[in-house]
Symmetry: C2
Subunit: 208 residues, 2 copies
Amino acid sequence: MNGPNDLIEIRKKYHHGDLREHLLDAVRQLIEQYGPDGFSIAQACRHAGVSTAAPYKHFKDRHEIMRHVAHQALERMRDGMQRAADAYPAGSPERIMALGNVYVTFAKTEPGMFVVMFSLTTDHAQDEDLMTSGKACFDIVIGVVADHMGLARQSPEVAARAYALWCFVHGHSFLTLDGKASKIQTPLDETTIMALVGRALVPDQIAV
Amino acid sequence: MNGPNDLIEIRKKYHHGDLREHLLDAVRQLIEQYGPDGFSIAQACRHAGVSTAAPYKHFKDRHEIMRHVAHQALERMRDGMQRAADAYPAGSPERIMALGNVYVTFAKTEPGMFVVMFSLTTDHAQDEDLMTSGKACFDIVIGVVADHMGLARQSPEVAARAYALWCFVHGHSFLTLDGKASKIQTPLDETTIMALVGRALVPDQIAV
DNA sequence: TTGACTAAGTTAGGACCGCTTACATATGTA
DNA sequence: TACATATGTAAGCGGTCCTAACTTAGTCAA
């Protein structure tokens, strides 16, 4: 067939070769382009040059695809966080700033993925891979905060401070994405925000 | 007609009477029950006992309905925040705690609405009513923080601190909803969290 | 009271989507 | 080479959003 529909890529062979990964990538692109609710699996199939039934040889349903996409994105962000942590000496304020910066930058450059990662629409809380990835991210924060405070990773003070840091940065990322932060009449630039994070949430004189 | 389909309410008259409000309410209920992506306008029509074409006499499209639902929810939260602010004397720590508590409680009791309010799927950033409602919420925070710090509402310190507070509470609410907060191995109860908010974000010794 | 205008319903249907079933084709292995 | 399996296709069901054309009922001026 291959009529005048909007096929992006014309496949030569009957078998695709690596449809699974190609689909995940197409979905990622489409989500960034049209938003998590503005795209369709059928659209991704057209990108991959396969029929709309093909995905179901690789995935149970739409939600499973979304979970895999979210997982890949979370792993990508985890890599970024790890690299940021490795780039600065333990205990330095720049290290925490860099960590927060990865988060906010990810939200800005891949807003679609950010929303999908923290979406409640697909049942993420039940997905084991997603939760372990998320925990791995948080463990990085735990380690950095522990180094900074000079306490053990298991210390409840560290846990509380790390969680507070996560909440703050997550909230800031989300409100920025949402456009609410920009509409609010505060002349807060990114530097001020991150400075506030560094100074307000990890000073030694404030105990839990 | 009225065959054996799942009509909830049987209408007697040809005209509904107040379909517009009835639809918004049905959508709200369905979102809480099935999630923002698990419901359909058609389902809401069945609740209201009208045909699936009826909503388009009142709303442009699905997105406009979602925006109205989000707006109503935001106004409801604003009322709660205002009541919390009025319930405590200016400058008292309990006042800030109560304000944050309204936010978190709203997220917990109406998770569907919370997600819709801060959803990027429907183009909220363009909606004027939504943005003004959001700004009204933030103005309450501004006022409370200004009272607490003993500074003018227009002070940049107040703006920074209020925004930080908002970020923190929003992040905590979202992570709680997402299930990530509960899965993270931190024994942080709500009281500890809110205490951390009160102490870390609005102490006078930390300047911007 | 009547008759036109309008608001708010209806039915019918198109375009699209997710997903399933039955069938077709390629690939690896004995 | 023969068969089992993995991976594709075509066809179609039920559902969604939304539009077009029609119908009903309420309002208001003459």
